[in-house]
């Protein structure tokens, strides 16, 4: 078990290093840097000096050396567009995305598992294909368009929820503790709903298949033959066994959720990593782009490792290996 963990973490480290190298290459091959469009009335020698400080005046290989050196010393770099260390920026923005991820993941699992069970129990019936059709409808939707439609709905037609930002800027400062919490939660609703709608179809589909697999197994058939009621069967026999594989999906859902968050954050003005990454790309702020891509890849890798571990815990055959 411990060896498995160690091996997967080591592999994860290799993947993260590769991600860093890939992003580095991608960004530095592109024309222009953070200073090539900087305030054009700054004297050229000042800009040259800055390029030197940020290691932008050297050949690509030397810049890569700079990058590795600073990474190795735990320094994520300095953001030119925000004028502060990248680490400080991540400390501000990453928790907001993780908060969004956490609630979205939680709710899409609750919704997905619920739908999957419903569909499997009524296999072939209206609840089955009806819920699958609706789920697939949202699954086939571009995230930005869904977000836009929610904006349209809640900004103009049913204006009951805030459509952007994290807080009520006007009244926020005078709120008491719990009022602030409620206000914050209200701002979370729409981004979270978008992400849940986008991801729960995949989870429901997985859950349904797992349920059907288990239903075909001998012990279920036996139980049914013995006259155990359908309710008891699905609760005690099927669901319990079908829940194990679904846990592993959690780790695999992360990349798509992180990707979806970029556009959802942009449309709802949720100042998280998606927003900061897009802004950093627009500003050619290499250090910030690389750091935020690195953070997403670390999240993805950790998600995968967690999925592996859960799977191993759930399945003794893997645990032994």
């Amino acid at each position: 078990m411990r060896r498995l963990l160690a091996r997967r973490l080591l592999q994860g480290l290799a993947v993260v290093w590769l991600v860093g190298t890939l992003t580095f290459t991608l960004l530095h091959l592109a024309p222009g840097d953070a200073f090539s469009y900087h305030d054009r009335h700054i004297p050229a020698d000042v800009i040259e000096r800055w390029r030197h400080i940020y290691c932008l005046d050297r050949p690509l290989v030397a810049q890569y050396g700079c990058y590795l050196r600073s990474m190795a010393s735990g320094n994520l770099g300095y953001s030119i567009s925000q004028q502060r260390p990248v680490l400080d920026i991540l400390i501000d923005y990453v928790p907001r995305t993780i908060e969004l991820m956490f609630f979205s993941l939680l709710l899409s699992f609750v919704a997905g598992i619920g739908l999957g069970v419903l569909e499997a129990r009524h296999r072939g019936g209206f609840p089955d294909w009806g819920s699958r059709a609706i789920a697939l409808f949202f699954y086939s939707m571009p995230d930005f368009w869904l977000a836009l439609m929610l904006v349209l709905l809640f900004a103009y037609w049913v204006p009951i929820l805030p459509i952007s930002g994290m807080e009520d800027v006007i009244n926020g400062p005078s709120f008491s503790g719990w009022q602030r919490l409620v206000d914050h939660a209200r701002h979370l609703v729409l981004p979270v709903i978008s992400l849940v709608l986008l991801t729960c179809a995949a989870i429901a589909r997985f859950q349904r298949a797992a349920m059907l697999d288990v239903m075909r197994m001998e012990f279920v058939v036996t139980a049914r033959a013995k006259g155990v009621s359908e309710n008891v069967i699905s609760r005690h026999h099927v669901l319990r066994n079908a829940l194990l594989p679904i846990i592993t999906v959690a780790g695999l859902t992360l990349p798509s959720l992180l990707g979806g968050a970029v556009l959802v954050e942009l449309v709802f003005s949720w100042p998280g990593m998606g927003y900061i990454t897009a802004a950093a790309i627009g500003n050619r702020d290499y250090a910030l782009v690389m750091a935020s891509v690195l953070v997403s890849s670390v999240l993805v890798v950790l998600g995968n490792v967690a999925a592996d571990l859960l799977y191993a815990l759930a399945d003794p055959r893997v645990r032994a290996a």
């Binding site: 024309p31 222009g32 090539s36 469009y37 900087h38 305030d39 054009r40 009335h41 700054i42 004297p43 050229a44 020698d45 000042v46 800009i47 000096r49 800055w50 300095y78 567009s81 925000q82 004028q83 502060r84 260390p85 920026i89 501000d92 923005y93 904006v151 900004a155 204006p159 805030p162 459509i163 952007s164 930002g165 994290m166 807080e167 009520d168 800027v169 006007i170 926020g172 400062p173 954050e265 942009l266 449309v267 709802f268 003005s269 949720w270 100042p271 927003y275 900061i276 897009a278 802004a279 790309i281 627009g282 500003n283 050619r284």
Partner: protein, 563 residues
């Protein structure tokens, strides 16, 4: 790219001026808001600030916040007169005296002025601020403006003296009304090179009418009125900048009432704001000039451009464009055409400038006389070259894209084939700086100085690496005229010289002058702005009021759908 920060927000030239308070209008207890109902003005902005230290920040939102936190020695008047100190108003300094030879000015600081931590503002603060802004290590965008400032000394604790190397009509503007005074007692202990990373930049202490409260990155910047401000408490209690990720979201905040002010309304915004009775639109003088820029050098700055090096071809292409028609279609009939590389709100503007006429026939004749013969493909050729070129168009504005499509059509009619290259703003800037383009749909945010034209269009600016004259326009006659205009101390003579220079450059057609973009702000009807200056509408924020008197004061007549 609507969902990327619009980098046009970045200031191209100068970190804008500090709030100046009209003394007469400012009574010490003059708050229209009682203590019972604290008034809040919420600006919404589609991008975050970078740093709140004035010498370091380049974002427009920081310029607005800084204008309320920090003061300059003096402020130019609302009509943007930059010549001498005519009309200049006291700010941190309550008075000043010129030396007889005009080579130094002694400023007398208001003894009541103090930092929000209680420490009084004194001459060492001024000395420190000028030093920081001239430092190449810090890299302030004021460096070129302060080139004529030789040194700053302190005659006594409240009398800093600025010494100049040379006299000019704009010396007062360049020095006294540009540098924001910083608190030396909090900053001077930090080395210049470490200034960017000091926590002070995210938690500033200033001497302005408002005090810093908080900055939640990516979300909110909040200021509160300083009731002990030396020129009287500002009228609105709280100022909040509410940050969104994109211009559409900013617009929605205005419409939904989550914010009550949005600057830089786009055409589509105007249509929507006009439909909301609780909102109004206020216009202010535009300093935004849009034009097509030709690259007269070859690609990457090598040799001569096969098409645009020829002045007559540039003139022909200019004459092929129905500017009035295009601008009227995209904006409206009232949107002024650009007559040259300056807008009508510049003091040196010449309303009688003679323009190249719109005449496709003359354009065709001119092109033929220069050897460009129409081919079977509808495009003109000369030798091996064909009259074909790509134009860089920033993807961030629907209006500019629309106009680019119309230009394409007009060029086609005289046998020139233009293709549109959509790029984002950083790419456009980078490619212009590297001279890696043929033509570009370009915009310029002007500052109020007539001499600014030298930085943009002179031969010196063309030759220097990384300078702004990326089109390589060079004409010795133009250079000489501008140089004498800058050198003279006689304002009338200067204006005449500027007019002559404008005529030269307009005739050379280094670009196709298109239009002055309308400068419009949308706001709640309860907001009553004081005079909004063209280069910095926020300069008089401390005089703005919010009251239940919901008249549409200051509203510009904008027909819905017309603008």
């Amino acid at each position: 790219m609507p969902y990327f920060p619009d980098n046009h927000m970045r200031l191209s030239r100068r970190v804008p001026a500090l709030c100046a308070l009209a003394l007469s209008a400012c009574s010490h207890d003059g708050t229209s808001s009682g203590a019972k109902h604290p008034t809040t003005l919420v600006f919404t902005q589609p991008s975050d600030a970078d740093n709140l230290v004035p010498a370091l920040s380049t974002s427009e939102i920081a310029a607005q916040v800084d204008a309320m936190l920090f003061e300059k020695l003096a402020e130019i008047n609302d009509s943007m007169n930059v010549i001498g100190d005519a009309g200049a108003r006291p700010s941190l300094a309550d008075s000043w005296t010129w030396a007889p030879d005009s080579l130094s000015i002694a400023f007398h600081l208001d003894p009541k002025a103090h930092w929000s931590d209680g420490v009084p503002v004194r001459a060492p603060d001024v000395l420190y601020s000028f030093r920081v802004n001239k430092s190449k290590v810090v890299g302030s965008s004021l460096i070129p403006l302060l080139a004529d400032v030789d040194s700053v000394t302190a005659r006594d604790s409240v009398t800093p003296v600025i010494w100049f190397r040379a006299r000019s009509l704009e010396q007062f503007y360049n020095a006294a009304t540009q540098v924001r005074v910083l608190p030396a007692h909090l900053m001077a202990s930090t080395a210049d090179s470490a200034l960017q990373s000091t926590p002070y930049g995210r938690n500033p202490v200033g001497s302005g009418p408002y005090k810093f409260v908080r900055w939640v990155s990516g979300s909110t910047i909040e200021l509160v009125a300083d009731s002990t401000f030396h020129r009287g408490r500002p009228k609105i209690d709280r100022l909040i900048w509410s940050i969104t990720t994109n211009a559409d979201a900013a617009m929605l905040r205005l419409l939904s009432g989550e914010a009550n002010f949005l600057d830089k309304l786009r055409k589509q915004d105007v249509d929507q704001v006009a439909k909301h009775p609780e909102l109004k639109i206020v216009g202010y003088p535009s300093m935004l000039a849009y034009y097509v820029l030709f690259n007269e050098r070859g690609r990457k700055g090598v040799g001569q451009h096969p098409i645009f090096a020829d002045r007559e071809v540039r003139r022909a292409l200019s004459m092929a464009v129905d500017r009035r028609g295009a601008v009227t279609t995209v904006y409206d009939a009232k949107t002024p055409l650009l007559l040259g590389p300056y807008t009508s709100n510049l003091a040196s503007f010449d309303p009688n400038m003679i323009q190249l006429p719109y005449s496709p026939d003359s354009a065709i004749k001119l092109l033929e006389s220069r050897g460009w013969v129409l081919g079977k493909d509808g495009v003109r050729h000369k030798g091996g070259a064909s009259l074909e070129f790509p134009m860089l168009v920033p993807g961030s504005s629907s209006q500019r894209q629309q106009m680019a499509v119309m230009l394409q059509d007009m060029f086609k009619r005289v046998g020139a084939r233009m293709t549109i290259e959509h790029v984002d703003f950083p790419t456009q800037q980078a490619r212009k700086t590297a001279h890696d383009y043929d033509a570009a749909f370009d915009g310029m945010s002007l500052d109020p100085t007539p001499s600014g034209i030298r930085q943009e269009w002179s031969s010196t600016a063309a030759k220097a690496e990384g300078q702004s004259n990326t089109g390589h326009y060079m004409n010795p006659a133009f250079d000489a005229t501008i140089d004498s205009a800058v050198a003279t101390m006689d304002s009338k003579a200067a204006i005449a010289l500027y007019h002559r220079a404008y005529a030269i450059i307009a005739n050379d057609a280094p670009g196709i002058w298109l239009y002055e973009a309308p400068a419009l702000a949308g706001m709640s009807v309860i907001v009553h702005p004081a005079a909004m200056r063209g280069d910095m509408w926020w300069v008089n924020l401390a005089q703005w009021t919010i009251s239940d008197d919901a008249t549409k004061s200051g509203t510009v007549a904008v027909a819905a759908g017309a603008h």
